[in-house]
Symmetry: C2
Subunit: 150 residues, 2 copies
Amino acid sequence: MCARAVAELADARERGYYSIGRAAELSGVTAKMIRHYESLKLIPKAARTAGDYRVYTAGDIHKLRFIRRARRLGFSIDEIGTLLGLWQNEQRASKEVKRLALKHVAELDSKIEELQSMRAALADLAAHCHGDHRPDCPILDDLGRLPSPE
Amino acid sequence: MCARAVAELADARERGYYSIGRAAELSGVTAKMIRHYESLKLIPKAARTAGDYRVYTAGDIHKLRFIRRARRLGFSIDEIGTLLGLWQNEQRASKEVKRLALKHVAELDSKIEELQSMRAALADLAAHCHGDHRPDCPILDDLGRLPSPE
DNA sequence: GCTTGACCTTGCCACTGGGGGAAGGTTCAT
DNA sequence: ATGAACCTTCCCCCAGTGGCAAGGTCAAGC
């Protein structure tokens, strides 16, 4: 993931390197996304074999797994970049990490609230709709409501 | 929004047409998005003046407001297309509208649940992090956790 | 050695729903 | 007649994927 030109693929495998497909299997991040993360500079450029195949170490795969877990918690790519830096920095202060996590919790909270208010408004409208063959429908009435008499 | 070539802008205004900027003001949908919705065929092509300016009727603006409200409830552009069709169809069955609304409520519910489980997991990790100058951090430990001993 | 097929490479296009801006034309008031 | 305000089209950007196409590499069987 850092050095360059690692000879043949067979060689590379013997030395403990994995192809992008294997890395994808082992980390749960698709090959596509591994390349994408490389292009975004979230991860450094992978080393290549003589045949120009990317090769990954167990450590790289560990890092990819880290990224995948962070994505699942909803962190953005930028935030994950920061988290990776902190993860690999032995001098980090856990305060920094906690601050980032709590900021993200707050973002999640506001998204949740937003969705909940949409949900409530819509469920309320739906509750007042007969839902039969007739055209009358408070849902459409509300969406098409005029703000002021026209 | 349907016919073509409406002569001069001044004429058009006298006949009750609005420019895209006015339509944006009155509907709350930006001029940018009005053009975008037209390109997506969510709304028909607007009529044009001799100078190629789009013109809109009060009815069009009403429709744009409908779209804006539906977006705020989280409906996708596709769903809004369907809702618009139902809105303008006097023969509609309110059952259809209600079904769409309830389906969307279910989608909102699953998104809310997803965010809530992220939120809970992250808040839990953060709660166990000292958040001080020391590097030890359960948040990073969890993100970097190996799935099986290696 | 040659073929086959799995895997890899790059690159482009699509989607969600917008935001921003450039380059140039139109309208209208002064 | 000129400048401001508004309009036009076109393109790039964001996040985070998925998919396709054309081509190169590798390992294995015959």
